[in-house]
């Protein structure tokens, strides 16, 4: 890594650090209003809940729930989307159904899920999958529909068999498009898991956030908010890393 990229990375932190400093000073100067904790207090709450083990356990729950939901989205959404892109009959049969379901806000589904599954992880996963599967279905469908006719002619002239064509040409060619949906779906899974935990499943970071707020512990509320942000950043970074490692050609092409 070059020294210029270090400087650039340093500059990224300039604004957040300055804002934190200003925040600290502002709260310290205004002693009357105690609702807003200082960054120092939030940091202390963060360390405390971390040492107690609560924060990590909650983060692990949220991450596991998001990951499990994402797994279901991948397993169902990709084949369904690819089938939709391939078979016109299926498209005509399902498109109205999909267009009716898709605009439903996931949060609106929580009461129904609670009725069926109670305040449980099933509610959380169901709601999360429902909210996060659409980008995958749509991008997988678009990935197949958008394939250039040329690549099938290439496959034909090279005498690749049907299976070889699907596995080595069509699927990887649609993959970059599917990947866009997969990443979108993953961020949604994290967000919706937290929302579902706040109202539908008393566990994880979402529930931790609500509990802290109900206990009027402002600094802990902020600490949980911070933890949710960090989890999102880390998860997206990890996903990007895995993609770059597994598919170096894709990164080169884009």
């Amino acid at each position: 890594m070059t020294s210029t990229s270090y400087t650039r990375r340093g500059r990224q932190w300039l604004l957040p650090v300055a804002l934190l400093g200003a925040w600290q000073l502002a709260v310290m100067a205004n002693n009357g209003l105690n609702v807003l904790p200082t960054p120092m207090e939030i940091g202390r709450a963060l360390v405390e809940s971390f040492v107690e083990g609560r924060l990590l356990a909650d983060a692990a729950h949220t991450f596991a729930a998001a990951l499990a939901s994402w797994g279901i989205c991948l397993l169902v959404g990709i084949p369904l989307g690819m089938a939709l892109g391939t078979f016109r009959t299926l498209r005509t049969m399902l498109s109205l159904f999909i267009e009716l379901l898709r605009p439903l806000p996931a949060v609106a589904l929580i009461p129904l899920a609670v009725l069926v599954f109670g305040f449980s992880w099933r509610t959380e996963i169901t709601v999360t999958v429902f909210a996060s599967i659409w980008p995958l279905i749509l991008s997988s469908r678009a990935g197949i529909e958008g394939l250039h006719a040329r690549i099938f002619e290439v496959a034909a002239t090279l005498h690749l068999g049907k299976w070889h064509t699907l596995r080595s040409v069509a699927m990887p060619a649609a993959f970059s498009q599917i990947l866009v949906g997969a990443r979108l779906s993953f961020s949604l899974c994290l967000v919706v898991s937290v929302v579902a935990e706040m109202v539908g499943n008393p566990a994880g970071l979402g529930w931790g956030l609500v509990s802290a707020q109900e206990a009027m512990r402002a600094s802990e509320t902020f600490a949980y908010l911070f933890a949710i942000g960090v989890l999102g950043v880390c998860a997206n970074y990890a996903l990007g890393f895995v993609v770059r490692r597994l598919l170096p050609g894709l990164a080169q092409a884009s």
Partner: protein
């Protein structure tokens, strides 16, 4: 068996269009000789690409016969490989140069033999040094070389090329023309080559077929009497070259009128 690789007799091709069925090619009588370098020229809309697609097995004649090695075919025939103009769409960007070359043979052979075949194909087009790169890192000329190498890896008897150098700059084009003649000399492949560049057709072809009209027919044929070994500078100054070029341009313009 006669010496023709392809033989077309009164072949006609119609394709669906916005205004109903349109006749693209009509009355095509054509014999493509073994190890011949045949160039197809003609204005746009005269059916050059359609003719190549028929030979390549992507499209069947509506009437008449088209035979490869004496047999009719409905899909790309064994031993016939098409190289497309748009190398960008034809290459697989997620595969390295080597893996792209492997595509057509990786299910048929493996291990050391696969490696050897890839190496041979890469050496023929001078891409050995770039074997671990991804296509996006290569120049246009290199990418087209890669597509040719991928075709050569199958050890084809016939290469069908649809304006393969059309998108390349003049220098690269000249270089690839010489390489292609050398490849043909060393592999003994038959080549059918579409171009709209008159100079390219005369320089490369043992025979040049001129397509004209709509529906397209074979308007005329020229056999430039040039030596086997060609050279970008001296060959193009030979009276035979200039004569063939003049002849072809005249007929091309005559056909357009």
């Amino acid at each position: 068996m006669n010496s023709s690789v392809f033989s077309c007799e009164r072949a006609e091709v119609s394709l669906p269009s916005a205004t109903g069925t349109k006749v693209i090619l009509q009355g095509i009588d054509l014999q493509v000789g073994r190890q011949e370098f045949l160039c197809l020229v003609g204005g746009s809309g005269t059916g050059k690409t359609t003719l190549l697609r028929v030979l390549g097995g992507f499209c069947a004649p509506t009437s008449g016969t088209v035979l490869y090695e004496g047999k009719a075919f409905r899909s790309p025939a064994e031993g016939v490989v098409t190289v497309f103009q748009d190398y960008g769409n034809a290459l697989l960007p997620w595969r390295t140069v080597r893996a792209n070359v492997a595509l057509g043979i990786e299910k048929k052979i493996s291990g050391a033999e696969l490696d050897r075949r890839i190496d041979t194909a890469l050496a023929l087009v001078g891409l050995k040094k770039a074997e671990l790169e991804y296509p996006a890192k290569l120049s246009g000329g290199m990418q087209q070389r890669l597509q040719i190498a991928r075709a050569l890896a199958l050890q084809p008897k016939v290469l069908l090329m649809d304006e393969p150098f059309g998108a390349l700059d003049a220098m690269t084009k000249a270089k690839l023309q010489d390489e292609l003649r050398n490849i043909q000399a060393s592999t003994g492949a038959t080549i059918v080559f579409i171009t709209h560049d008159v100079d390219e057709a005369i320089y490369l072809g043992d025979r040049v077929i001129l397509l004209a009209g709509s529906p397209g027919t074979i308007a005329s044929e020229i056999r430039p009497s040039l030596p086997e070994r060609r050279d970008q500078i001296s060959t193009k100054e030979m009276p035979e070259y200039l004569h063939a070029r003049h002849e072809l341009l005249e007929r091309l313009h005559g056909a357009a009128r």
